[in-house]
Symmetry: C2
Subunit: 378 residues, 2 copies
């Protein structure tokens, strides 16, 4: 391998693939970055076995040229620390001896001991995958907002793996994203514009998909999503990311417990609501905050004995139905409010022990959240 | 107490005093902030017993007015988290019941349980101190640069307390700052413009003084320093900080081991040197880097078996004397290079096992550093 590439292009590629590197893996190959020089492109790959990130730097007279093809795996941490400290401008990567990468930039010469690229986890090309069940495109800003909202409700405990994932459910041209940890539930429906077979439902690890959407920098561009039996892949320009799927059946029955009627409904401006919940959360013992809706206002209360209490109130844009008081986990409410894009919220009270329903009013991003209330003794 | 103060003024005051708050002190009063409303000022104080920070918000029609004097101590963490989340604009602090602070801003009402201000560590006013041995002023940017440079060499281990401090030694109109951890030594001399008694030498904890100089935001303003038998204080505008002194005798004999002659002397541009040392440090096993000066160049080498090696070189601005090779702790060298202001460096080689001397060439900031070389077997 002999390649010339600018520091800027290298850093850009590394910044993407580093997210899949395992910092101190017992298997050193997973702490490495696979660098492969093809005729017309230099490809960087990192994998933590659950997610594989690939970034392709195409040939370009101003930023990259390949003089001799070849591949190597080098320790990610050392590679990125060295590249960051080199002078701006051209950097030469050369590998003459097996598994040794020589890096040269100006008067700086680095020899980095590498590993055999044959040991690196293979990347399945989506085009060679035996059964690509479906393929479609979604605009980046829409995908990012939807994933952020739904991931809020995914579980972070490994005791039930299916709950750590986001369910992708295809119905006609619609894709329903859903997640729940048993106490919270979030769902959002996206229009794909492609008629996709029913039954190709998959569960994607929330942790992976959350990282993936953060990498989609160009809001108005689209990402191609390909779903097959054992993996899902996301392709956006030079970036290609694959994630494993979670085996199992998503508890879709949750959808059936969404209360269809309610005792009261509030219309609330999201920003003032978020700020008030943030304030009362500071002193919320056990994260519990109490909401009381009455006479066009929502009163928020929290307290911890020996420390103090907060009382806040916000004006409602509208209220229908009876006055009510309910106790919620303030952190769960904050998680939801922090990932909303814009527009007012509908908050539905369905009974003292039945979930609170939160709906966005923006018709382009119809998200639905449920929070099970906290049982209190008063 | 009844005070109206703007959120901005409050946050500014809190941001200063929070640095002395002990996060989870077994003594809750040290996790608190003392708020005292005087006729014409609101004074915030925090203390970790080693350092006390006081910030005074003066009466001003646009930002603070006192309607009723009084004092209270409230938990720092909760106070600052709440203030940050309140609306911009006026905030009212009221304490009617003993040790309860009511905070009101718009529709937000907070009651915070406080503590008895009588239990708070007393602040010694410099004017009432029995024996203020000396008092002088230094411009903030000069003081900050000097303290940063000298603190580099202070020890972080508590095994010999005097080595965790910076020695202030007064001679005529000069103040010599010195620190050493036994392997490194740093010194810088400042001209105070005041003739100060000989013999008023004190040792100030490096940790405290490092925090203090970071707070001196206005470069061209001056800070008043008052030294007495048991404490040193720094006053800059509305900020007043006191630090305890470290008992004991600073090993001033170190000064006498500064090599007066050398075998070679290099003149080096500091920025290129810093960058090269940063690069070779990435792969420096045991932090050891090797410097070789010959034919107008300085070659830097480091390596770790199984990982790799780096070779870097920089052009010297000048060199006198013999070629040499020496092994140094790269981290120690980086610490020094990172705190230099500008101008070239003189690096003096005084023998294979005798300290390397680094001198700044800027006559306005004459700093001197010693690093003991690492003994190697080649």
């Amino acid at each position: 391998m002999l390649v010339n590439v600018t520091k800027e292009s290298l850093l850009h590629a590394l910044q993407h693939v580093l997210k899949a590197v395992v910092a101190n893996s017992p298997n050193p190959i997973l702490s490495g970055i696979h660098i492969q020089a093809y005729e017309k492109a230099l490809v960087f790959t990192a994998s933590n076995t659950s997610m594989t990130i690939q970034y392709r730097v195409p040939e370009d007279k101003d930023s990259m040229n390949v003089q001799r093809t070849g591949g190597i795996v080098v320790p990610a941490r050392y590679l990125s620390e060295i590249i960051r400290r080199l002078h701006a401008g051209w950097i030469a990567f050369e590998s003459e001896e097996p598994f040794i990468l020589s890096i040269t930039s100006g008067d700086s010469h680095v020899r980095l001991c590498g590993l055999d690229p044959a040991e690196f986890p293979p990347v399945h090309s989506p085009s060679t995958d035996a059964e690509p069940a479906c393929k479609f495109q979604i605009q980046n800003d829409v995908l990012r907002s939807a994933i952020r909202q739904v991931c809020v409700a995914a579980s972070t405990s490994d005791s039930r793996p299916v709950l750590t994932g986001v369910s992708f459910e295809f119905t006609g041209e619609n894709l329903s994203l859903m997640a729940t940890d048993g106490i919270r539930f979030a769902s959002r429906t996206l229009h794909t514009g492609y008629n996709i077979n029913n039954g190709t439902n998959v569960i994607v690890p929330a942790k992976n998909i959350n990282e993936i959407v953060k990498m989609l920098s160009d809001d108005k561009a689209a990402t191609e999503i390909a779903v097959s039996r054992h993996q899902i892949s996301f392709t956006a320009n030079e970036l290609h990311v694959q994630s494993v799927l979670i085996e199992g059946v998503f508890p879709s029955a949750v959808k059936n417990v969404i209360p269809q009627s309610c005792k009261s409904e509030l219309l609330i401006g999201p920003y003032g609501f978020l700020q008030a919940v943030e304030r009362v959360s500071v002193l919320a013992g056990g994260n519990i905050i109490r909401l009381t809706a009455a006479s066009g206002k929502l009163v928020l209360l929290s307290g911890t004995s020996d420390i103090g209490e907060v009382r806040d109130e916000i004006n409602l844009e509208a209220m229908e139905g009876d006055d009510f008081t309910i106790a919620l986990n303030g952190r769960f409410l904050l998680d939801i409010l922090r990932c909303l894009d814009s527009g007012s919220l509908r908050v539905r009270y369905t009974g003292k022990e039945s979930p609170v329903v939160i709906l966005t009013t923006d018709p382009l991003s119809p998200a639905l959240f449920l929070i099970t209330p906290v049982r209190t003794h008063d």
